[in-house]
């Protein structure tokens, strides 16, 4: 009993340590990459990580799929883009507004949409995503339509303007690290357990008094809010947005990031986002192969490595540890 308690303590401490190391590494990276193109890519790794973590809260924690998450990303981007190109308001305020709007929308459609299960939920979220994509394309007066919206101002705090890779990197990663930390905290908590319970057996969760309906809508809303913030940041960093970035294909790409990294694993989402963001940047050939590779990865990982890369690595580590123990045991016997 006493031993158990200690176990739990060390586990918690381990978790904090891992995050601390990760965060330090992330914050140190720019020191080595000053002026490099890689730094620019890593900015987008940050944004995609934030998005993948947001989707993972819904998909990996609560087990509810969304094939329309790019739409919330788009809502954030367009609300920020449209308002800040027209009115001289502090863009940070608009980020809050965008997050709020995405949250309200998610909350409102969340109730009817999350009543649906499995395949129907997938189709409904997909439909939602497509509708918004069409709206981004067709409300030309606001969004600029298919040719996009340009001259979005950069964010700034006083005289610190976020218009170079170095500044953008820190801007994005502060948000991303915060989102990651909060999500990790959530996992081992009352709400996190309830969400994972819904994932494994919604009826049993309800029998235990978990209000699945409300909780699913809550996490959907949170997920949408995070995605919208990522969208706002994206708009201000790119200073140009077009609907193509917020369509079905990107929703599938987000799904692929989460699945590759591992459902429920926050570091997995980072890994998935990093892989999917960097591959096309550095493997030119990959640009033509991208969707075929995504498709293959989705299928193979789901079939043969249900825990994703992180889950797979953990399993390998466990097996190795067990093997070493066994060998040690044998040696001791001999």
């Amino acid at each position: 009993m006493f031993l158990k308690k200690q176990n739990i303590m060390t586990e918690k401490r381990q978790q904090i340590l891992v995050f601390f190391i990760f965060a330090t590494a992330v914050l140190m990276v720019p020191l080595f990459l000053k002026g490099s193109y890689l730094l620019n890519v890593l900015v987008f790794v940050g944004i995609n990580t934030m998005l993948a973590v947001a989707l993972n809260l819904l998909l990996g924690y609560a087990g509810q799929i969304s094939l329309g998450h790019a739409a919330f990303f788009g809502i954030g981007a367009y609300i920020s883009g449209i308002i800040t190109t027209r009115f001289p308001i502090d863009p940070f305020l608009i980020i809050i507004l965008a997050a709020f709007c995405a949250g309200v929308l998610a909350f409102v459609i969340g109730f009817p949409i999350l009543k649906l299960k499995g395949h129907y939920l997938a189709m409904a979220t997909l439909g939602f995503g497509v509708i918004l994509y069409i709206i981004f394309n067709e409300t030309v007066d606001f969004t600029g339509g298919p040719s996009g919206l340009s001259s979005i101002p950069s964010l700034h705090i006083g005289s610190l303007v976020f218009d170079n890779d170095w500044n953008n990197y820190y801007l994005v990663w502060v948000f991303t690290l915060a989102v990651m930390l909060l999500s990790i905290n959530l996992f081992q908590s009352r709400i996190g357990r309830a969400l994972r319970a819904i994932h494994d057996s919604e009826v049993a969760a309800r029998v235990m008094g978990v209000n699945a309906r409300v909780l699913k809508v809550q996490i959907f809303t949170v997920s949408a809010v995070i995605s919208a913030v990522a969208g706002s940041l994206y708009a201000h960093i790119m200073t140009f947005i077009a609907p193509a970035s917020f369509g079905f294909n990107f929703s599938v790409e987000l799904l692929t990031m989460v699945v590759i990294g591992g459902l429920g694993s926050i570091y997995g989402s980072f890994l998935g986002a990093a892989i999917l963001t960097m591959l096309p940047e550095f493997l030119r050939v990959f640009q033509d192969f991208d969707i075929i590779v995504y498709g293959l990865m989705l299928m193979l990982i789901t079939m043969f490595m249900p825990g994703g890369l992180v889950g797979g690595m953990q399993k390998m580590a466990e097996i190795t540890v067990a093997k070493i123990r066994k060998m040690k045991g044998k040696n001791a016997q001999a």
Binding site: L59, G63, I65, L67, P112, I113, K115, L116, K117, G118, H119, Y120, A122, M123, A124, L126, G127, F128, V130, I131, I134, I135, N137, E138, E202, V203, F248, V252, L255, V259, D288, F289, D290, I291, I292, V293, Y294, G295, L296, M297, L298, M299, T302, M303, P306
Partner: protein, 294 residues
């Protein structure tokens, strides 16, 4: 007079699109009834039908009939491979995994098509020319007639197959209760395979007959697949005829909406209908309410 002619034109194009949606919807319903899976890759078979036909016509210079036959055969083989390689090995997979796998398959097939045939849009010649036929002041293309004829033929063939052939009856038994069907000696696995084969064949056929009207490219499968799903949701999964009604209704609403409200929101109409129905009556408009299950 002009007004009613225009209306007739909308109805005509609505019905012909609707027929296509119905055929695609058929494929969804067939696999759903056999396995409980919504096959997200369904639209890709529609794309394969069109693209393969283009390939056989223009690259291999075959004439139209062998090109179509080969396109259907190859699409069917792809469907069979998909079932054998990605669906059958998974026993007792969770819906979430199945969704992800069929999505994976769908973008894999799309990606392969893009690699092989490029990103260009291709035209397919109409089966019997483009000379419009005048009926009551409105024009109708021969290809429209082909679409209606093929759709009706497939529906009749389906009816006969499911109601009179042993295999068809066995498939219905599996859809109704796979476990019981297994107990009376029906090979459920083969029935699942067959459902994938038939639905990919029908899907590709739909893609072939619509291609001369709309052109085709590697990515037409997404939208067409979704519309087909929409048709089957409007009609309900349970019977073929209600899927047809769902498809036709969707085609009509879309055409009228595009004509009288806004052409640019044509695609949005289908999805708004889809969401409304999923929210209000997920079992479909024309289906009897099914028993509740958790």
């Amino acid at each position: 007079m002009d007004y009613s002619r225009q209306l007739f034109q909308y109805i005509l194009s609505g019905l012909s699109n609707g027929a296509i949606y119905a055929l695609i919807g058929f494929g969804f319903a067939m696999i759903y009834n056999a396995t409980g899976i919504i096959n997200f890759a369904q639209g890709e078979f529609v794309m394969l039908g069109g693209m393969l036909t283009v390939f056989f016509l223009t690259v291999l210079k075959l004439s139209i009939i062998p090109a179509i036959v080969l396109a259907v055969v190859i699409s069917t083989i792809v469907g069979i491979c998909f079932e054998r390689l990605a669906i059958r090995p998974l026993k007792n997979a969770k819906p979430l995994s199945l969704i992800i796998i069929t999505i994976g398959a769908s973008i894999f097939i799309r990606g392969a098509a893009m690699l092989i045939w490029g990103k260009d849009t291709h035209a397919v010649p109409a089966f019997s020319g483009n000379d419009p036929i005048y009926i009551a002041g409105a024009t109708i293309l021969p290809q429209h007639l082909w679409i209606f004829a093929v759709t009706i033929l497939i529906i009749i063939a389906g009816r006969i197959f499911f109601n009179y052939s042993i295999t068809g009856k066995a498939m219905r038994a599996c859809a109704y209760n796979a476990q019981a069907a297994g107990l009376v000696g029906i090979n459920v696995k083969n029935m699942v395979l067959l459902s994938f084969a038939i639905s990919s064949a029908i899907g590709s056929m739909a893609g072939i007959i619509i291609a001369p009207l709309t052109m085709t490219s590697y990515d037409v499968g997404v939208m067409l697949g979704l519309k087909g799903f929409c048709a089957v949701i409007i009609g309900g999964m349970s019977s073929g005829l209600s899927t047809v009604m769902g498809g036709l209704l969707l085609g009509l609403l879309e055409a009228l909406g595009a004509g009288y409200i806004s052409a640019s929101y044509k695609d949005a109409i289908a999805f708004i209908i889809l969401l409304l129905i999923l929210f209000i009556r997920p079992e479909g408009l024309f289906a009897k309410k099914e028993a509740e299950r958790f």
